[in-house]
Chain length 139, copies 2
Amino acid sequence: MTFALHPRLQQDCIEIGSLPLCRLLMMNDKQYPWFILVPEIADITEIHQLTSTDRHRLIEESCYLGENLARLFRADKMNIAALGNLVPQLHLHHVVRYRTDRAWPAPVWGSGDAIPYSPSEIEDILTLLKKNLTRCRIV
Amino acid sequence: MTFALHPRLQQDCIEIGSLPLCRLLMMNDKQYPWFILVPEIADITEIHQLTSTDRHRLIEESCYLGENLARLFRADKMNIAALGNLVPQLHLHHVVRYRTDRAWPAPVWGSGDAIPYSPSEIEDILTLLKKNLTRCRIV
């Protein structure tokens, strides 16, 4: 099997770019700066199914993304999670959290309907990421 | 500062043992097999604050734990997460999920009150883990 992005991720997210191991997506919900890394490997549902090399690449890409998001979006806290109860394809959430956000201190999953970005808001985020995530090939 | 377990983790969890990097805890809630790794390093709140060596140790210990839990408790899915909105000390949740569990398919956080284990149930789990998590020093 070759890798293909799960249809639900395609539907809910905007493709932002790619790192050596992972596709980088942004959840189309402007209530939270919320990014997702998807290792481009077919048929993986759990982190422990990755080889040791890919585990290390995943945590390095996750930390690179998380550290940059925390700085660029002035996070109070990062929430990092691999859940996959609804979308089994392995994907790692990186959610920038604020003490003032809608769901705080609860997790964001299931906290209400998404509010989509406008095209110009998406452009602004792509510009910000292009300038700052220099290890990432932005679309 | 030397490492000390956050009082809220001490209160909600049972100490199970330790791996080279992390303290291993079990959430005292028998609704879910729910284990937590806490890197024994002071003043860390985000995974990206760890050194590269410790990031790799963390993901290896997490995968070792996650793979064993999935097998021993016949998980439908593992949920792995570093949230920390309430307890800022870095800790990594490993929750065994079943399609039949109380919160499924939602995450477990905030899904209702914990139901504590009995002493004999705790003993049974410690025995199971001692036999299977051979890389872990069980208390």
